[in-house]
């Protein structure tokens, strides 16, 4: 007997999904243009910076499921979830589970660090440099370059972990996280998304564009 499919309920708002997939594209562009085409590399970096600024704002003033306060849990809840992580079947309603939440926080933090270190970096010949490298001397900007690369390796590790987790949920828990991040809907949603107000979206976009633009100008007005 076929089971009645559970109704699919709104989980991720459009800005969160657009943030996620634009970030995927821009990080890939930044990765492959790094050291090859620095003009594109720098531009994609401004894009990533804008997206991160937007996401931070959205984390406090976005849709309910994107707010840090709704998904970042303390150690007790995280440990409790960790104990059920091996169970088959979805053990958690839609949205970030407590471990995924820490993965999101870590990825955002490392991406911010990668981006900011890039702003101050300079290549070994002093030919290409970030928009804020003029604030530090050559030796310091070279150090920022080293951190920029090192932190990117850390980011690669976190993204690999993220992809493994998505695959694990797909295969072991029969939960399609990718579909939910595309359509925004999930049958598992326990508590439906409460969308953010339009003004919040506008403020977030203005902040993102403003910070990226000011940074590109090197904060020289």
């Amino acid at each position: 007997m076929a089971e009645e499919p559970a109704p699919r309920v709104a989980l991720w708002d459009l800005p969160t999904r657009l943030f996620h997939w634009s970030l995927v594209v821009l990080i890939l562009v930044a990765w492959f243009s790094g050291g090859e085409n620095m003009q594109i590399h720098v531009l994609s970096g401004y894009g990533v910076l804008g997206l991160l600024v937007f996401r931070l704002w959205w984390g406090v003033a976005g849709g309910s499921t994107s707010r840090f306060s709704s998904f970042v849990k303390g150690p007790a809840a995280t440990l409790a979830y960790l104990k059920t992580a091996g169970d088959r079947g979805a053990g958690h309603g839609g949205g970030h589970n407590p471990i995924g939440a820490w993965s999101v926080v870590a990825m955002i933090a490392v991406m911010l660090a990668v981006t900011v270190s890039g702003l101050f970096a300079s290549d070994i010949d002093g030919l290409e440099s970030g928009p804020l490298s003029y604030l530090v001397d050559f030796d310091m900007s070279r150090r920022y370059s080293e951190w920029h690369e090192l932190l990117f390796r850390a980011l690669q590790g976190l993204v690999a972990l993220h992809l493994l987790a998505v695959a694990y949920y797909w295969v072991w828990k029969r939960q399609n996280l990718i579909g939910a991040m595309i359509t925004g809907k999930s049958a598992l949603t326990l508590e439906a998304l409460r969308p953010a107000k339009l003004w919040s979206l506008i403020v977030g976009l203005a902040l993102a564009v403003g910070v990226a633009w000011l940074t590109a100008k090197g904060f020289r007005l």
Binding site: D125, L127, S141
Partner: protein, 152 residues
């Protein structure tokens, strides 16, 4: 072995060791000198590239940095004495090809000398767009040598 011969051999060993030590230090010095030189060039390049990002670049500053770059470029032939390559055992990005293909290396050095001199001249005239173009050409001269002759 008599006392005399042993004294002579000790002196000989000491002299040889000292000679070796002197040779090692001169190679070390040569490598340190060129690394400092290239770092200075990098500093000047960074200063020029950052000046060019401004709305109204100070072309006098660029001309001064270009003079520094050109000055250093003239010293490059002295920065690579024989024995100061990877075989020295000292950490260096200089490839052995520098000494294996001296003519090609000399041409690459010459290219920087020519382009940095042009940069100095162009910067002296104060046309920012022309400076940007010549800065690219000068940077290209760096790459023209770094790609074949410097380890990544």
């Amino acid at each position: 072995m008599s006392g005399k011969t042993s004294a002579v051999s000790i002196a000989l060993v000491l002299a040889l060791t000292a000679g070796g030590a002197i040779a090692a230090t001169s190679v070390e010095k040569a490598i340190a000198l060129r690394q400092a030189g290239y770092k200075d060039i990098g500093k000047s390049f960074k200063a020029v590239s950052e000046e060019l990002k401004k709305d109204a670049p100070d072309t006098k500053l660029i001309a001064a940095e270009a003079r520094m770059i050109h000055g250093h470029s003239l010293s490059i032939p002295k920065w690579f004495p024989k024995g100061s390559g990877p075989e020295s055992g000292i950490k260096t990005k200089a490839k052995a090809d520098i000494w294996a293909e001296p003519a090609k290396f000399a041409d690459a050095t010459k290219a920087l000398q020519i382009e940095s001199k042009k940069l100095r001249t162009v910067a002296g005239k104060g046309d920012v767009e022309a400076i940007k173009l010549q800065f690219k050409a000068t940077g290209g001269a760096c790459g023209g040598c770094h790609t074949p002759f410097r380890e990544k």
